[in-house]
Symmetry: C2
Amino acid sequence: MSKGKPTFQDVLLGLQDYWAKRGCIIWQPHHTEVGAGTANPGTFLKVLGPHPWNVAYVEPSIRPTDGRYGENPYRLGHYYQYQVILKPCPDNIQDLYLASLEHLGIDLAKHDVRFVEDDWEQPTLGAWGLGWEVWIDGMECTQFTYFQQVGGIDLDPPSVELTYGTERLAMYLQGIDSAFDLEWIPGVTYGDVYKANEAQWSVYNFELADIPFLQRAFVDYEKECERCLERRLSRPAYDFVLKTSHMFNLLDARGAVSVTERTSYIARVRTLASKVAETYAAELGESVGDGMADGSDAGPNGVGAGVAGEAWISPDDREARDLLLEIGVEELPASACRAAIDLLPERVAGLFTAEGVEVAPGDVQVMVSPRRIAVLIEGVPGEQAPRELTQRGPAFEAAFDAEGNPTKACEGFARAKGVSAGDLEVREEAGRRFVYYVARSESRPTAGLLPDICLKIVRDMYFPKNMRWGFRDVRFSRPIRWLVALWGETVIPFGYAGLTSGRTSHGHRWLGGPVEIRHPRDYVEAVRSVSVMVDHRERERLMWGDLERMASEQGLKVIDPMGKMEEVLFLVEWPTVTQGQFAAQHLSLPAEVLETAMQSHQRYFPMLDAEGALSNRFLYVSNGDPACLDGITAGNERVLQGRIEDAEFSFDKDRATGLEAMAAELGKIVFHVKAGTMKDKTERLVALTNYLAGVCGAPGEVRERALEAARLSKADQVSIMVREFADLEGVMGETYALMEGHHAEVAHAIREQFLPDAAGGAVPASLPGALLATAEKVDNITAAFACGEPPTGSKDPYGLRRAAAGMVAIAMEHGLHYDVEELLDRAYDQLERFPSLVERGTVVPEAVDFILERLAKVLTDDGLARDTVDAVLQTSRDFLDLRLRALALHQFRSGAQWDDLVTVFTRPSNLAKKLPTESAEEAGAQPQGGVSPALFTAEVESALFAAWQEAVGKVATAIEGQCYGEALAALASLRPVVDRYFDDVLVMAEDEAVRNNRLRQLAAIAGTVRGVAWLELVQG
Amino acid sequence: MSKGKPTFQDVLLGLQDYWAKRGCIIWQPHHTEVGAGTANPGTFLKVLGPHPWNVAYVEPSIRPTDGRYGENPYRLGHYYQYQVILKPCPDNIQDLYLASLEHLGIDLAKHDVRFVEDDWEQPTLGAWGLGWEVWIDGMECTQFTYFQQVGGIDLDPPSVELTYGTERLAMYLQGIDSAFDLEWIPGVTYGDVYKANEAQWSVYNFELADIPFLQRAFVDYEKECERCLERRLSRPAYDFVLKTSHMFNLLDARGAVSVTERTSYIARVRTLASKVAETYAAELGESVGDGMADGSDAGPNGVGAGVAGEAWISPDDREARDLLLEIGVEELPASACRAAIDLLPERVAGLFTAEGVEVAPGDVQVMVSPRRIAVLIEGVPGEQAPRELTQRGPAFEAAFDAEGNPTKACEGFARAKGVSAGDLEVREEAGRRFVYYVARSESRPTAGLLPDICLKIVRDMYFPKNMRWGFRDVRFSRPIRWLVALWGETVIPFGYAGLTSGRTSHGHRWLGGPVEIRHPRDYVEAVRSVSVMVDHRERERLMWGDLERMASEQGLKVIDPMGKMEEVLFLVEWPTVTQGQFAAQHLSLPAEVLETAMQSHQRYFPMLDAEGALSNRFLYVSNGDPACLDGITAGNERVLQGRIEDAEFSFDKDRATGLEAMAAELGKIVFHVKAGTMKDKTERLVALTNYLAGVCGAPGEVRERALEAARLSKADQVSIMVREFADLEGVMGETYALMEGHHAEVAHAIREQFLPDAAGGAVPASLPGALLATAEKVDNITAAFACGEPPTGSKDPYGLRRAAAGMVAIAMEHGLHYDVEELLDRAYDQLERFPSLVERGTVVPEAVDFILERLAKVLTDDGLARDTVDAVLQTSRDFLDLRLRALALHQFRSGAQWDDLVTVFTRPSNLAKKLPTESAEEAGAQPQGGVSPALFTAEVESALFAAWQEAVGKVATAIEGQCYGEALAALASLRPVVDRYFDDVLVMAEDEAVRNNRLRQLAAIAGTVRGVAWLELVQG
């Protein structure tokens, strides 16, 4: 390393030198475009199989969407990754890695270096792993990943991947704010070499690349890949995987991939990648078998592994003692820390009590910091509580004769238990006395149980996500690097994952060092002495206290809108709350954008002034040396500044473009290959919104705003902000619409189209929003069914269940009356021009059922019985009407007239089934249900006919007024005449005409009831 | 560099380290497939424009055709180049480069390191340069090139490009014979990493790649490139140039590119590359102007540049002295050496005599070795020979009066010359006396002229190819690195190309060192003292002497079939003839293959035994330290072994395939996009050969052999050998045909199809060969015309002029009679099924004219007058017949009857033009030319008519027998009656019928003459 600030080349050659000396092959970038070093076959293929493989290389990484025309100093469409792969993972990999930074000249002790959870995934390559982003003073400089799968194949052994962001590292080392100002070698800057390149490629990628060419090339490469796979040529096939992937990236940059299409493209690439990985792995298998590489067995994985120089406790010692188990780990994710805190007391107490050692969950103290999970229990009993095992024998009367001597039965029982009758005890059970055999267990010393308990605590720990790092059966949230286990002053001997327990803990990476724990009660202070505040509750109190104090000292209020404290809590072991700021001119950006910049990645805490306006000051929590805060803060400020400028850049670009221009570009984003582009989708939304406004009787002004919102609803999909932060979809549309002077309701409706965004979430507040949100959802549903992709079983990739529930919720909230079948018909009309859709006759009924099923769920969630809901579900197509019907039926079922109604319905309904089919069909089509009074032979027939006619009238009026209770009551009131009818009339008369006329009468009555509710679906 | 043998990684990192320390940016391989580091934009674009740019990088180079399934240890379809670009070129670049080899641990003094002329060209990129392959002990390890043009643009300043073959270097350093055995890092071989890769890519590239996909992709990339160029996006456009180029390479490997198509593909890529270069250069111009970079001015470029510490000779010194001029250069090509030897005596002598110093060409000794051109002249006169300038004045009589005093005229003349009348001299001229003004030039000392003469010798030297290396107006065969110029013991002061003259020469690179030349006469021995045998004649004598002696001592005879001595002569300064050998088992290969391996690249001398069989011993000339010959020979043997094994590999593959299988593959090689594949071409050749055999009356056996040869004629285009050594086209076909047991004439005909292969070259010896060769040529010609690509002006890319001349030569040699128009018609028949051809009515007549024009050239080259040839050219379509006619006319023109014939033809022919057009047309169609004896009015008319009738009969008989002299004589014999006719008859009679009858008679006579020769085309 040269004196002075290292050049960019010094960084590259420094890393090369460092890793070459550590046995890595220095590899070359791949000969086709890749988005990351992972895609180089030197990683993707070589991490498969058991062979050791250590490699390091520069990879010029091409990410078309990241290009910024060379105008943004932090974002490049082409940049240099430095990639390292080590297989198997060395135990000291974190130290090895950190030493590489020192090798570049960074004095890590003066900085805040963090391992921030980042679970890496590359869906197109079927690859994922767990690990971190490594930060220096807030700047992400390396991706550190334990690969778990590649091409869908479990890695055995896993590899570790280090990916250095070389430009960022060099910028950091040179203390500059623009990649283009980097000194590459003396006299040559990065900008000299690459600025024009960035500008030109941005033009090509964003504006010029020929979309049909890219689409065709994708398909061509895909085919060529498959042809290679047929010949089992994994390596050429893999190149074509990369080429399909690059075509996808280019299409993406051109904005020519919709959310829906994205899924399909990614799946296609992943499928190829998986086949390539399988083929390659099979080649390896053929040539070398599938043996495990060196060092991959689990090592001393069990109890009793002794600790050099320390003797385990005497086997007879039964003294109560304090227990400490500290699992030293590489930096844990917050979620794993929280899982440990939540689950361990119960689990640890359970392990003890299962062994008869009395430990309650409340006795188990769990303390968690990023690099350790500590379990501390004071005063654990020194031996098992006595336990007895009882078994009941004969009843007292049968066990002893009158003299009180044991009977034969009693002695037989005693003999079977291996004792004499005199050893049996008499106890009372449920008021009767029996003889019992009672065995008392031996009370073993706790000490003997501890190695096994400790092993189980570690081995069986449950985390949301687990990883392997080199031992076939060992999984944990992150690799375990040391084990401290103390029983009083003595080490509890056990081993796991290649480690043996001891008393040496490790402090803060730079502010601490190793520390011997003498006794569990010393633990908290011992690790504090090496700068670890191990108790998370203490840390949290301290941080909130300082945050609030520092804010209020300036008349400000600290906020945490995205709830980042939980993450910060488990990122620091030695927290110092610190203040930084960004340039005040950026305050003109929308607060949401600034808060996103501060919180979403950096986890800083914004502050508000008394008026609730955002301050340009912020607070953050350092884990570095409190003596070095100035430098650390400067670094964090620089990073934030970059993020804000980046957001500002995108924001300004978008504003310059404008929503109208964005909307005009929607034709190039495919919504679904079978259902057109986002432009087509927009047109459908306009039409459906218009229809809904009509049937819902929206006032003209509302209709206009809803239509304007529909027209612009998807425009922000073209914006850079949304392409970068997909969460801001709708939010940016609203923001830009407001800035462009659209009516506030138009703007809000654009954002509200996606509401409710969770089950039970808020629905649009405005009526235009409600109409547009309904249109958006009904189109999604109809399109999915029409494209042959309805939700099935657990699969609902487009979230259609939520969409349907949302339609219901919106209709309820805003009192929107519409016929859902009619609406789906209109939605299908809009789609009809696309070829290769499922036909209307299938789509509409199935979608209606699907949506009504959601309605049913809403109603049952509201407490209605499922059969109540089912009874009404086919009687209307209007959600509100259906709800009223269901509520009415629900109420009626608990009322006095329910029996009457059931009676009125049941026998007529059952008898009506005897009506010959053709007659039944005729009957329904005739006036008066085809009942002919001329055929009546009994007076009561006329009476029933008259009563029914009257009830029909009342029911019609009640339905008209949606007074379904009244309708039901009117029907129930037929009970007396119905009863009389069956008393007086033999329905199944000899005369066929008479008989059928009577059956028609009964069918008509049942039919009238079913017009209100299908009572045959009501259980009992 | 680690101890022991360097690993492959040591080589890569060693070069990186070396060049990084010399200010190079360490660049990365490009992100799309390239065949060489040159194609990386870090070279292609960055060498444009004036900015200094020093860069070094590894480039994994992909050359699909070089793949060998991982079965050949020397050939890889994917290998690592190490590329260095330095702009401007440093003066000490050769030393810098050689030091990089020393840095890798090679002790160059122990080896034979050579700079072997290699003028590099990359046609697809419009790039070329002059330079060398650098050899170590016969192994090519680096390409060293002074770039002159890239993308068709002159580089200003030029760059130097070094391209190391890293695998070869590492193999050399590790002393191994297979790239796959290279140790990459300890424990990992190159084969571990790349062998499977090679095998799989070979399958893909040679067998699997989808040809229509590649063709489509080529066009797609080409379009995308053009779209980028429209937007002036040079960098994205350049990527697409590379992609088209890669598609072309893949098509080539798949054997899907014919020779014809190749030209078109390369032209398309080059056109794009040139446009990219222009666009990029324009960008540079816009941003920085076009100023020259530092160090690019010509420096002390002129006379009189003093030499430190030495004084130039006294201006009055007129002593005769010896002169020495030594131009020290980087290694010259043999052709440049020869040009210097041939041209310098005349030119140098000319420069002296022009200045009045008497030096004859025979006085100028020129001695040339690879690194110097020396001019030595003994005893150059010390001053100019006296010269006088005279000017004539008045005549003596006018100049002096009777008293002998000058007249006014005389005095006026004297005054005008600035002298007095007494200074004029009287001299005699052509018998008369005049006064003369005579000026005698001052005789200047030679010394004063020398700086200018030396400068001119260097500056105006002419070489077949010249290069620039950093000075805008300085061109030479290779860079000039020192100048020695002595006039006796004194340095002649002048400067050129940044150098000043001196007395220090430089010896052999490793066996010598700098040497001071005291005096010209010491020169030869002085440089001999530093191991340079500067006199090429001496070197050649020595080498031939040793070669012959060493061969004959073993009972062998040395041969030089490809004439390599001339190159060897100018590759060595200190020659040692040395012997090596290759494994005797390879002697089973055809001698041609082995000789090619020994001579074509390595320039070794094969030896034959007494029976004329090739020995496995060979001789070569080392330029290295005679004390290190063992190592040098071992190296050379290893290289030859590799080349032979490579050839053997290809040869065995081809034999295993067999000609029939090759022929079956011809459908995938396109002959011309508009004229089908090589399979189509083969079918055409079979048909045309068959036709020719018929019309030429070939015996059945000949016809069969010719057809068999035609059927297999193109098969070897599919062979690996021909794909690698295009020169062996036909040769390999013959070889394989013989091995497969085909009749020798069939085999020979396959080879002979391309004969004659140069103007005036040998024609096929066999009749089958003659027929096939004719068919091959007529198809080439017809196809080119039909495809709309006839030769134009100086452009004849398909060599059709040679082909047509070949047809003529073959017909002459073998006495083949055929109607060329008919033949072309048959050739067109064969092509007719292809769409988009030029129509037959255009193609056939134009092609006939084109071919007859070649015949005309053959005949005029044989000494016939052009007008003689023209006179007969339209009278037949049979080359042999035409030649007989021309010869007869030629002879007749110098005979006694010529005037008679002219008379017989001329007046009738002229008068016949007065015949009304319609009558003339009728007349030709009628018997007796429409002449009606009934209309005769004079006796002589009847006499002429009778004589003409008789002559017509004689002419017909003579033509039948091809006795054209007799035919002409018969016509000439009409002279008396013709004369009489014109004496007695007024042709233009009043009576129209009489007149026209007479004109018809005359037209008929002229027509009969024109049936033998068009005399109106004969001049005088």
